[in-house]
Structure formats: structure tokens, C-alpha cells
């Protein structure tokens, strides 16, 4: 099927039907009649009136979010349904999509009262577990190690969690994983199997459609990966307020949550904390040993 015949482009990601004016090859193609989310090119406002929160390159108020990346694009998200993009002349579509698929979608999800944890999700049996952590914790590298052992991927870096009928579920994101060159070397991966995300950086993106699982699954465990400057490994099950705070701190872009949706976020974190075991795994900073970490997690999953 040629690209022309599938316009407008239709995808499913984060549990949503997404229609786009342009190709988003990172997402999984889909078919539907009515989109829940529309992605389009268009002019965007220079600023928001009376923003509730702002930073050097973003502003937000209830149901409106604005972010701009110099020389790449400006993004305007409305009502949890529309993403408008004003592309800079010199940027590539690959760059425009790189920031849209994670960062901008997280703002859109939050406008819908949907929240994500900063972590990757791996399928195991009929359930899933999350590997959360701050940037650089080794989430994607460890996830790739699991995939090498025939586990399946639900998401890299951003994991949408929700509660349905008393069970915590995780939604598949999209079949794509990002790895730095040093992680690829550790995993003995060939750079030709992926593509550079940006010309000036040795960071690669890999399309993983064959290793992807595209249905929501109940969450069995959450692991928080934390590097430290000591040679030993530590594992501890989190309880009480520490568990709640750790989950809150690992919310994907917590700063983008508006005052209106904050109570829903609080409620969700409470429910996750009440139901799902959360373990913190502290690892030596460098070098990462993904085989050891995988053993630690598999032991805790038993």
C-alpha cells in the first residue's frame, strides 16, 4: 500500500485513535472512523493568556499547552484532542516527531486526565511490569536486554497507567526504543539496525514492530531504577509515604499537570500505591550490567 492511499494517516498509541496530517512511522498504523486526537500543521499562538504555569519554553493553562523548541518547532495542544505544529524551516520531520511522540503527547494525555509514569513497560505472561527511573537510569537499555530474551515491549520511556474496575492497567505506547551509542555497544547492537535520532548526537531510534505487544495489560510490578556511586546493588520494597512520593516523582512530566487534573493524578497514584508492589533497585553508576539487573528483576517477579 503506498503512502498516498492511507492519508490521512491513522495510528493507535497510548490507547488513543490518532489521525495525523503527516506520517508518524514510529506509531502503529490503525483504522477507525472517528479520531480521538488530531495532529496537524498550523499557526500557533505566541503565548497563552494568563497561563497557570510557565517555564522558559512552555506555558500551560487548563486545556491549553504551548511549548516551543528553537529551530525545530512550536507545539500547541488543546482540549486533549488537538496538536498543532508550527515547524521551523531548517528542522527535519524526524526531529519534529522526536519531541512530539513523548513530550507533547504527555501534555495531551494530561489534558484528558490520563497520566504516564517515566518508565518502560515489558510484557511477562499475561501481565506487565514497569521499569521506571530518571533520565540516564538505564531504563531503555535494560528493557532492550529483556526483549533480547523474548519478552515483548509495551512502551519505552513513557508508560500510561490507569485504573479500570479496580485493576491497574498499562496501555501500549508505540513500537520504538531510543538508545545511546554506549548502550548499543554494551548490548552489542549494530547501528545499522536503527537510525540516528539527530545528526549531532550519537543516539539511535529502533522500530520494534515485531517485538511489540499492542493490547493493554494489568500491571504486576513497578521497579524504580536508581544509579549510585557505590559498587554494590541494593533492592528494597517501598512502603507508605515513600512509595507514594516515589511514584509521584516518577510521573512523566509532573510539571505539566494542571490544577484541574491534579486531583485525578493524586487519586491514581494512591490507587497504584495501594495495589502494586514497588521495588527500588539501586545499581552501580557505571558500567551498567543489564544481565545482572535482569536477574534481580526476574527474581523479584517470581
Amino acid at each position: 500500500m503506498s503512502k498516498e492511499t492511507i492519508k490521512p494517516y491513522k495510528y493507535r498509541a497510548f490507547g488513543l485513535n490518532i489521525q495525523s496530517e503527516f506520517d508518524i512511522p514510529e506509531f502503529l498504523e490503525s483504522s477507525f472512523d472517528e479520531p480521538q486526537v488530531t495532529v496537524k500543521f498550523g499557526d500557533i499562538p505566541s503565548h497563552l493568556e494568563e497561563p497557570e504555569k510557565k517555564g522558559v519554553r512552555y506555558q500551560l493553562r487548563d486545556k491549553e499547552f504551548l511549548l516551543w523548541l528553537d529551530n525545530i518547532a512550536g507545539y500547541y495542544v488543546q482540549n486533549g484532542t488537538t496538536i498543532s505544529i508550527q515547524k521551523a524551516d531548517d528542522s527535519t520531520m524526524k526531529e519534529v516527531r522526536l519531541f512530539m511522540t513523548g513530550l507533547i503527547f504527555s501534555a495531551l494525555l494530561q489534558q484528558r486526565g490520563i497520566f504516564a509514569l517515566h518508565g518502560s513497560t515489558v510484557k511477562r505472561g499475561n501481565e506487565a511490569f514497569l521499569i521506571c527511573g530518571n533520565s540516564g537510569a538505564g531504563k531503555s537499555t535494560l528493557t532492550r536486554e529483556f526483549l533480547n530474551d523474548n519478552y515483548q515491549l509495551l512502551s519505552d520511556d513513557i508508560s500510561v497507567v490507569s485504573e479500570q474496575d479496580g485493576t491497574i492497567f498499562v496501555q501500549p505506547a508505540f513500537p520504538f526504543i531510543k538508545l545511546w551509542k554506549d548502550s548499543m555497544e554494551h548490548l552489542e547492537m549494530d547501528e545499522l539496525s536503527g537510525a540516528k535520532l539527530r545528526e549531532q548526537m550519537d543516539k539511535y531510534g529502533f522500530s520494534l514492530k515485531d517485538e511489540f505487544y499492542s493490547e493493554a495489560l494489568p500491571v504486576k510490578n513497578i521497579f524504580i531504577l536508581t544509579p549510585h556511586n557505590k559498587p554494590e546493588y541494593k533492592r528494597e520494597q517501598l512502603k507508605g509515604i515513600e512509595k507514594f512520593n516515589t511514584l509521584k516523582d516518577h510521573t512523566y512530566r509532573f510539571q505539566f499537570i494542571s490544577n484541574t487534573t491534579r486531583p485525578f493524578h493524586f487519586e491514581l497514584i494512591n490507587k497504584i500505591a495501594a495495589q502494586i508492589p514497588v521495588h527500588r533497585i539501586t545499581r552501580p553508576q557505571a558500567p551498567i550490567n543489564t544481565a545482572d539487573l535482569k536477574d534481580v528483576i526476574e527474581e523479584l517477579l517470581e
Binding site: V56, L69, G136, K203, N229
Partner: protein, 284 residues
């Protein structure tokens, strides 16, 4: 009255020059506790190149930005901090004082109160830096002489700090001391060791902090090297490199002169003679 955004005090130095010691002292002085502040809780004097600070203030995911893109935004991040602050804000810095390709200084004068610049005999810096990096001391002489030296500057891996360009040891010193945009107070490590009270007191007076001599003396006691060493032994220090045995070592003066050969000492003198003379590290 016009709002004054000039709130940031840069605690700037080449590594291993007394910066952390002063940060602990300042933390103790500001907190006014009877017990010493813990070395793992020095949040009042966090590093300016922290990645999470950048991400929080810009809203951008720095992990997908280039070094150059992050550099271009850093002045705005600091202006933001200056504008938001009620009181003075202290930021540790290992970057040299540099200018962006468009001419803006990385550390904007509009947000800056002043800089305290820490300087130490480069021969002792080399020894201490070698322990910190788990490298041979003679290797560190090359580092101090390397005009392209930077922290976190490679493009194939993630760092939890933004790139910091340091240059050679004397380029670093001159960049801060001679920049001419913001007020500078210089602290020699050797003076900090020899006459701690007088040196620290003059820094506090320079900053205009309303602290009594007794409060300064108390904060110096709570920041004694033995306290820091004991804290590190018990719980570790999160700013230590994983390769180093410990962060707080001896902090002694003149170790480099004893350790290095005449040839190695000359490699430092030849490259840094002007700055060495200017700051009293060469008698002739």
C-alpha cells in the same frame, strides 16, 4: 522600586579548589542549625549545570537536545532563576566563564549578584584531581594544560550534568577573574586553610550577608574536614566519582611540589606562569 533580578552568586572554580568546603560552610551558616548540615544535602548550593534543573525550568527534555542547544538556553534558565528568587541564590560552577556564538555570556550579568572564585596551587589541584578521577597524577598535568578540556562533553552517552567547558587551568582562572561583567571575590585555597576565619569572613562581608562573627565561627566548626570525612565514611558522598576512593581526602598544601618531578613541575609553570605569578604561586 525596580525589581532586582541580580540574585545569583556563582561559586566558581576549577575542580578540587575548595569549592565544596565553602559550600558546606555556607550551608551551615545559612541554616543556623547546631548540628552540621549533611554533605548529601547541599541543595542550597547545587551545581548550575544540573540537568534536572534545566529540564524543570525549560520544560524541555534535555536528553534529546544537543550540547549547543542546551548552551543557548542556559542564560535564560539563569535569568529565570534570578527573576524567581527572593534572596540570594548560590550555584556551584565548574564551567569557565564563556560566551555563546551569538556573543551572550553563558552566565548572564542581569541575573548575577557576584562570583566567588576559588583558586588553588595547580600542582595540588593535579594531585587531588587525580584521586578524584582515579587517574595518575602526571595524567592530570595534561588535563590542566588542555584547552579543550570539558566535563560531560561527549555525544554518545547520557550524563546527569550538562556539558561544562573548562579549558586549561589558567584559562579557567582568567575567564572568571578578568571577565569584567560581574563583581568577583577571589579566595585562595591556601588562605582558606591558613586563616580560615578571616578568609571566610571577608567572603561573607563581600556578599553582604548579615551574619555575626560568632555565627561564622560556628559554621566553620561545623564544616571541619574531620566532620566531612566522617559523614562520607558513614554514608558516602553523592558528588564523589564512582572510581574515587573518597572525596574528602587530605586537602593539604604543597603535596604536588613533593610528588612531581622537576620536569613535571615545569610543564605546569611553563603553561601557567602569568597566573601563577599573579596569584602568588611563584616567588620569582
Amino acid at each position: 522600586m525596580e525589581k532586582n533580578d541580580k540574585k545569583i552568586v556563582w561559586l566558581a572554580s576549577y575542580p578540587k579548589s575548595g569549592n565544596t568546603w565553602f559550600r558546606v560552610f555556607l550551608t551551615n551558616l545559612l541554616r543556623e542549625n547546631s548540628q552540621p548540615a549533611h554533605i548529601n544535602e547541599l541543595k542550597e548550593t547545587g551545581i548550575a549545570s544540573a540537568r534536572n534543573l534545566f529540564d524543570e525550568i525549560t520544560g524541555l527534555p534535555s536528553e534529546d537536545l544537543t550540547h549547543e542547544e542546551m548552551d543557548a538556553l542556559r542564560p535564560e534558565v539563569y535569568q529565570w532563576i534570578g527573576a524567581e528568587a527572593e534572596d540570594l541564590v548560590f550555584k556551584k560552577v565548574h564551567d569557565a566563564y564563556t560566551y555563546l556564538p551569538d556573543g551572550r555570556p553563558l552566565f548572564p550579568p542581569e541575573a548575577t549578584h557576584s562570583v566567588i572564585y576559588f583558586i588553588r596551587d595547580p600542582l595540588d589541584v593535579a594531585v587531588s584531581f587525580a584521586h578524584h578521577s582515579a587517574k595518575k597524577p602526571e595524567k592530570m598535568i595534561d588535563t590542566l594544560n588542555n584547552s579543550n578540556f570539558s566535563f560531560c562533553g561527549k555525544r554518545h552517552r547520557f550524563y546527569n550534568q550538562l556539558r561544562q567547558k573548562l579549558g586549561t587551568w589558567s584559562q579557567h582562572v582568567k575567564s572568571w577573574v578578568d571577565q569584567g561583567n560581574i563583581p568577583v571575590h577571589i579566595m585562595r585555597y591556601e588562605d582558606m586553610k591558613k586563616d580560615t576565619f578571616q578568609t571566610f569572613q571577608s567572603a561573607i562581608r563581600f556578599l553582604g550577608l548579615n551574619k555575626s562573627n560568632e555565627e561564622i565561627k560556628k559554621a566553620i566548626e561545623l564544616s571541619d574536614l574531620s566532620v566531612l570525612q566522617e559523614q562520607e565514611q558513614q554514608k558516602g558522598f553523592r558528588e564523589k566519582s564512582i572510581k574515587a576512593e573518597s572525596f574528602f581526602r587530605k586537602g593539604s598544601i604543597g603535596e604536588g611540589k613533593q610528588l612531581f618531578s622537576e620536569q613535571q613541575i615545569n610543564q605546569i609553570i611553563d603553561n601557567h606562569v602569568d597566573v601563577l605569578r599573579r596569584f602568588g604561586y611563584l616567588s620569582s
